[in-house]
């Protein structure tokens, strides 16, 4: 309980702002550090438990929720969360082909058309926050937020690869 109180006290002093250099800066008890946001629970709790890490990937602070911060810090954090959690949003699947060791996908994403490849043993996955995620060989994530709302052809492609 004592430790929890101390943690909360520390969080209350935490301030975040986006500075001229384009980076998110965290300040706490006279300490200042350019940080990047890492979501501890990227799918089940995307907006909470945010680890703020410095350039050495050391945790500077853990934000349990935006409501711990003052309004200006909350705004700065919201933008950083959106950047950290960016994934390509699939709106249409136009083609899926299997080749040697890889599966080639052609999709229309909210960000633009994209071709990518997955390993044959990497399958689309359900995520706790809803939807399906596909990971390509380079590590990029493709999120199908509402699979049931895809057009019929896309659903036909997709259902062949989901449970």
């Amino acid at each position: 309980m004592v430790r929890l109180s101390k943690d909360l006290e520390r969080q209350q002093q935490l301030k975040l702002d986006r500075r001229a250099d384009g980076q998110l800066w965290a300040s706490r008890a006279g300490e200042h550090c350019a940080v990047s946001v890492h979501r501890c629970f990227p799918w089940s709790e995307p907006g909470r438990y945010l680890s703020l890490r410095d350039s050495e990937n050391e945790e500077f602070a853990l934000v349990r929720g935006p409501d711990e911060l003052d309004p200006s810090s909350r705004d700065a954090l919201r933008d950083a969360i959106a950047e950290a959690g960016f994934v390509l949003q699939v709106e249409r699947i136009t083609k899926v082909e299997e080749e040697v060791e890889i599966r080639s996908w052609k999709v229309e994403t909210r960000q633009g058309p994209r071709s990518f490849q997955t390993r044959l043993d990497d399958w689309p996955m359900d995520v706790p926050g809803g939807g399906i995620v596909i990971r390509d060989v380079a590590g990029d994530l493709y999120h199908v937020a509402e699979p049931e709302k895809l057009d019929r052809r896309s659903r036909t492609w997709l259902w062949a690869f989901v449970d």
Partner: protein, 446 residues
Amino acid sequence: MSEQNQHTIDRQIIERYTDQPARMPAEVRSAVEDAWGGRAVQLYALSDLDAGMRLTDSWLVLCEDRVGIAKRVGQAWRVDDFERRRLVDTREAPGLSRSTLTLLGPVDEPALLLIRYTHRQQRSVENVRFVLQQELEGRSVPSVDADSQYAASVAAPIREAQALVAANQAAVLIRLMGYLGRYKRQLVAGFVAATLITAVSLVPPFLAGCLIDSVVRPVQDGTLSVERGTYLARLAVGTIALVFLIRQASALVRLRYMSVLGGVGRARPAHRALRTPAAAFARLLLEGENRKSDHAGELGYIPTLGFSGVRDHRCVAVCGDADRTEHGALEPGLGAGLGDGRAGARFLLGDLQARRAHEPVLHTRLAEVVARNRRALGYDPGDTRGEGLQPGGTRDKTPTKSCCRSQTASTPGYTACRWSCRSARNPAGGCPGARPKNQEALQWSA
């Protein structure tokens, strides 16, 4: 394979599988070189996301004394650049599917350049960043063929996924041979037994020849007494019987040791990263959160460092195994069995955060998160230390009390909450195959 052939293959891979250029377009190159007074482009990378997070084609380019980015403006290309000597630091901020590279000037001044890119461009951007970083540290990097570097970087993940077109095909064999390293004794015993089988197989025909030439025929000719012939014949037959026994024994040794290599034995040590096809997604999330590049993922391994839970059959062991990993890495760090359910494994692992020695094994809210994700909570009724937890059914969605709250990293002998594994495989609780020591496990099945 010559470098030229490799470059050709890389370009073909990019053209066939991706929707990005296999090299910097000629009009971009000429625009950049015009802007830089004819200086040649030393290295480049594609920045495929714009500020609005839309896919685009901008080029991060480097020459001997300038860095810039070429952006399409209408039909032309605009080059925003600065002198390399103004660079003070570089900063990379990774995300789930996007990273940002910030090139920083003096403190409190705006960033000199900020580019966003997907993981596909990660390697080529890292090449550029490496050159800049080396320069900042007073070192120089020999010049390379920019087109080859770019093509190799972009094509590498696809090339590596397609093992059949790997540059060094012997590497596959060497890697597979490496797996036999820990079975040296069994391997030697098996090979000796196999050699013995082959060697003694030559003895019966030899003895049969001797028997006919040196015993049967001389006895028929009367040059050898019947008694002597009978003695020699029995000796030969006895030797053949002995050979048969040796062969059978050697076959037993060979089969015992060689046919089951990899299928039996001790748990694999953590420093030998485990191949885990069933947990690919967990690997991905961990890499993302731990700011690791994809190198491990491409090889199909799970990184064990920084991982706060340890996979044990259908459970995530969060105490005993994690401790072992921390103290010397002699035990398995993480490994999904082939029979493990994909659906159950992925997100809990993905949600577990990277942990350093001074941090709690589990996040204080993990119990609720797990419950919310329909993973059952419960405790081992045989263990009095599980009293703090409410038992949960396999579909129990109700958040139950997290014993993690009552324990902190500062608690002496800190151990995370203790939950029994009540999988379908072991409905009575307890983790099948788990070690007998205090084993804290989260239920795995969905």
